[in-house]
């Protein structure tokens, strides 16, 4: 077993890779009542074009299938539902799907061992029938409607859709009603057999637990299950072009006043995890300095009547063959062109950056320390910096050594010449 010691805060994370390829991370936290386990596959809504396990040709599956599969793994072929089993043990169980991962998790105070086995077993025992697949479509459609009813969520979804061309991040995690309607039980088994092999999966566990005992019960459970040999998953990758799909768009929605959103698109060629993380971190810092809580930008927009009550900005990275960044700006504004002009003026502002950069470094250090006072945050840290990036033991050093020169070098690479704009307005009476 590997022991990963985190500097400065004196915390340890244990890592073990089983013979079948399953990777386990355990964070032991004495004194905490809750215990968490996350069972995660590197499979989400973007993994849509691939060679299915045991086959030779690429195939494209319906959009939203990873999310649909997540719902259907809760189907049990016994009288007791998956939820009931966990609730009898006093545990809360749920799951979620994102662009690049699906995870199933529980937290409990008591009966951790039985819940852990229950989690592994239900995720590793798919039970799909034509009937239960059809039944789920109504629930998923309701979820899609519900998400689209949130103006901010809808604005984000449509901007991404309009900004990207080739990237699979273009499509919403839940898919569309039409695509969901096409999903069959055979599709689900094909995706499951390809992406739910233990070698593509991770268990992240946190709480006041016995590390060796926990590893042993997982080993024992896995040794009883036969898996076909590991096969590298072949997936189609896409290079995202520099231009946007739709430059300007307008929709009606359930809004009381007009909402406008626009996003600048930039592509970069970033190779390593460290390079990607540092680049994103410097960009985040830059946009927070210009538009965040220490800036008077929003206040001035409201004062000048350019926006009514709020302005928000954030950025998102999309890993394709190249790395795409979208920098979003959202506000309730009647004059979207004036707003965009003000944003572009501000983006050129380089005053006071050095002092602000040093202050934001303090914020990063504080947020690192705070991750280890909550099991949820720590699990999220492992899932991001252990599974998504390979930076678990390097994170603190990276933030501690981040410096102004690199920061300036990074932000000098930014350009704001390509954007997409979306306006959400009230339905005319």
């Amino acid at each position: 077993m590997e022991k990963i010691i985190l500097p400065k805060i004196d915390e340890t994370i244990y890592k073990e890779v089983l013979d079948n390829g399953l990777t386990i991370y355990i964070y032991k936290k004495p004194g905490f009542q809750k215990k968490y386990a996350y069972f995660q596959t590197k499979y989400g809504s973007i993994n849509n074009v691939f060679v299915p396990h045991g086959k030779k040709e690429y195939r494209k599956v319906p959009l939203g299938i990873a999310h649909f599969l997540e719902h259907k793994l809760f189907e049990s072929n016994t009288d007791e539902s998956i939820f009931e089993g966990f609730e009898k043990d006093g545990a809360y169980v749920n799951a979620a799907t994102s662009y690049n991962k699906t995870y199933y998790y529980f937290n409990t105070v008591d009966n951790f061992d039985s819940c852990l086995i229950r989690l592994i077993d239900f995720v590793q025992s798919p039970y799909f029938t034509d009937e239960n697949v059809e039944k789920e479509k109504g629930i998923i459609n309701q979820e899609i409607d519900m998400r689209d009813d949130d103006p901010d969520g809808y604005l984000y979804k449509k901007i991404v859709e309009n900004a990207l061309l080739k990237s699979q991040y273009k499509y919403d995690v839940g898919g569309t009603k039409q695509e969901v309607g096409k999903i069959t039980k055979e599709d689900l088994y094909e995706c499951y057999n390809t992406f739910y092999h233990p070698s593509n999966m991770y268990l992240v566990i946190a709480g006041d637990i016995d590390v060796n005992h926990t590893i042993n019960i997982i080993k024992n459970n896995q040794s009883k299950k036969a898996y076909k040999s590991t096969q590298a998953i072949k997936q189609k990758t896409f290079k995202e072009p520099d231009e946007v799909e739709v430059k300007e768009d307008k929709k009606t929605h359930n809004v009381v006043s007009k909402k406008v959103g626009f996003a600048y698109k930039m592509n970069f060629d970033l190779k390593t995890d460290e390079e990607k993380y540092k680049f994103s971190s410097y960009l985040n810092c830059f946009f927070r300095i210009l538009f965040g809580e220490t800036s008077d930008f929003e206040e001035n927009l409201i004062k000048d009547g350019i926006v009514k009550s709020y302005f928000d900005s954030f950025m998102q990275r999309y890993d394709n063959e190249n790395t795409t960044y979208l920098v979003f700006f959202v506000a309730d504004s009647d004059d979207e062109e004036l707003l965009r002009k003000k944003v572009e003026e501000k983006l050129k502002d380089r005053s006071n950056l050095k002092k602000m950069f040093e202050l934001y470094k303090k914020l990063l250090i504080a947020s690192f320390v705070r991750k280890f006072e909550s099991l949820e945050m720590c699990v999220s840290y492992i899932r991001t910096f252990g599974i998504e990036y390979d930076l678990l033991d390097k994170y603190y050093d990276i933030i501690n050594k981040s410096n102004y020169e690199e920061f300036i070098e990074t932000i000098n690479k930014l350009h704001f010449d390509t954007y997409t704009k979306l306006v959400l307005d009230k339905k005319e009476k």
Partner: protein, 412 residues
Amino acid sequence: MDVIKKVINGVKVTYIKTDKFKSIAGRLHFRSLINKEKVTKRMLLRDIMIDNCKRYNTNQKLNLNCLENYDATYYASVYQDGNYITSSFTFSFINERFIDDKVTDSAINTFCEIVFNPNVNNDEFDKKTFDLCYKKAEEGIKRRKEDPDAYCFYKLNQLMGKDKPYAFEADLDVLKKQSTKSIYDEYKDMINDSEVSLYLVGDFDYESVAKEITKHIKMNKDYDEEIIVNNDFKKKMVSDECKLNTSASVLSVGFKCKDLTDYERVYVMPIYSNILGGGSTSRCFDQIREKNSLAYYAYSSYKKVYGIMYIYAGIQKENKDKTLNLMMDIQKSMKKITKKELDIAKKEIDTTFKRLSDGYIKLLSTYYYIDIMNEDDIEEKMKKFQKVTIKEVEAVHNKILKDAYFFVRGDK
């Protein structure tokens, strides 16, 4: 974990001593009697006070100070609890043990500046701050309709009792009457006419921190009004609906509890509501979502200080009648429950209590609510929940009366 209670400078201080967390946190409460106007005024006061203060007289200056103190966090909240309203101010910052600088004195000092030295001149709040917060509050109230779930509850509460505290929400007409002066009057009212208490959590010299904060408190009231709201009951269920430009629709049904004993209110009703619609094995979730595929979510919730319970679901508009009938049938079916259902509900409640100690903000809230509700301590509550019987849950069913339902019709 030790809990120490002490009166310091005339203020009740509760210190939860624990080294589980890497932060230090505290919450100062100002509690007074509620009325409809106060809800709007306190909301605006909260936003103005947390935006800046006299010493850091812009939001940017205050936020810079937070960063200097390693992302020290301050926020204000307004809670409505039965016949009371509470303005609370919370701080948290990293324990000095984990960083290279000293921050405690500076972070507490900023907290005191926010609460006790607001940006006021000549008995009026700063006009620029007032105008900014006013605009945000005004838009926030107007935007209520953008969230169909919240809007549905808002409208249902109005139907259930528009003059009852559970129906009090921030209101545009009240907001329009406010000025820099009226909000400062509300501040003085909060400072001079409240029951004040302080809750601290972490591993630090709590007495010096508590003394530093409480030395500013000159008035401390002691209210004896009941927290529980008395309900009026309708002879016939009422209903209403509205259209919103959304795809999904929301249906909420409200019930009122009549003549509950204290024991039933605190111990039996939470179990009843849990079985009805508490989680993924509840009757609502099972019947409405799993068996009939009518909704993505279907739950119930119980508000003990108001003696009311809701059942709600997100549905397609064409399924309104079917879902409403099903909701009413499910509620009627609660006159009989099984041992298995009771055991699952008890287990869930037990786990909820055990989880409380894992988050410092939860600890601050829990100990405050135990005090204001004047209820048993956590250990005693856990024991009493385990003793609730099937008979008691079935008996409480007869005290639950249907009152109203509201339907938000998605009309996209």
